[in-house]
């Protein structure tokens, strides 16, 4: 019968402190490769709608006329598919999750592109 077979473990538990993080005092550090919330560079977006068609949960809505891009952060599953299919590479993934909300509607985030000058100067209107 080995009494002290867990001795090392006991000593470690006594001296090292708790194995869990004291959240929310100590916030978690996410690594660089972690998948997190989606952000967009709205000035580069061409509103093709590819991201909203490919989204597995339908979290993205793209409206071409008022030039709006909307994401429902509570529907997003952080898969990163929209980032991959975007032809202009204007979507990016942060490495932390979106903050919590108390009302469901607060999770919907909308970005609108500033109106561009009209088509009198076509080379300038294109990026």
């Amino acid at each position: 019968m080995s009494f002290l077979s867990m001795g090392k473990n006991v000593a470690r538990n006594l001296f090292e402190g708790p194995a869990t993080r004291r959240y929310p005092k100590e916030k978690r550090e996410y690594g660089p490769g972690s998948r997190g919330m989606i952000g967009i560079d709205i000035e580069a977006c061409i509103f093709c709608g590819l991201c909203s068609r490919r989204c597995p949960t339908g979290a993205l809505t793209v409206r071409k006329d008022p030039r709006e891009w909307e994401i429902d952060r509570l529907r997003c599953i952080f898969c990163g598919y929209c980032v991959e299919v975007c032809p202009k590479k204007c979507l990016a993934m942060a490495n932390h999750y979106s903050p919590g909300v108390t009302v469901r509607e607060d999770a919907v985030h909308m970005e609108r592109q500033a109106p561009r000058p009209a088509k009198e100067a076509p080379p300038e209107a294109k990026e």
Partner: protein, 125 residues
């Protein structure tokens, strides 16, 4: 190609004979599944021994009676109850028959009922 997979077509009257052959040769029942293809239902019985995979395929019309194989392979009762409830395949003599209470669905035979709208364009809801 990962592995060779053979499929043998059977009829309703030769099904139990083929399954009994597999049982006596020591095959293991892997799974039973069915596919609703418009006006016929295709039932696949899969067997495996020493990593060699064989498949028996039976094609029936909806409502046609199929004999259960759970008298030979007792474990088939789970698959057959599921097929009966989700697809409406008429299987008789299942060893442990749940009589429609395996899944408790709101709509009877949900996997076949709405195959009519399989032709509609996909929506990203």
């Amino acid at each position: 190609m990962i592995e060779e997979q053979t499929t043998i077509a059977v009829e309703k009257d030769t099904l139990l004979g083929a399954v009994a052959d597999f049982y006596s040769q020591g095959y293991r029942l892997v799974q039973i599944c069915c596919t609703a293809l418009g006006d016929v239902i295709e039932i696949n019985y899969s067997f495996d021994r020493d990593y060699r995979f064989t498949n028996l395929r039976l094609t029936v019309r909806p409502g046609e009676e199929v004999q259960s194989v759970s008298i030979i392979y007792w474990c088939a009762f789970a698959y057959e109850n599921e097929m009966k409830e989700l697809f409406g395949v008429n299987i008789r003599n299942i060893a442990v028959d749940y009589r429609g209470h395996f899944y408790r669905t709101a709509v009877p035979t949900p996997f076949v009922a709405s195959r009519k709208d399989a032709g509609k364009p996909a929506d990203t809801d």
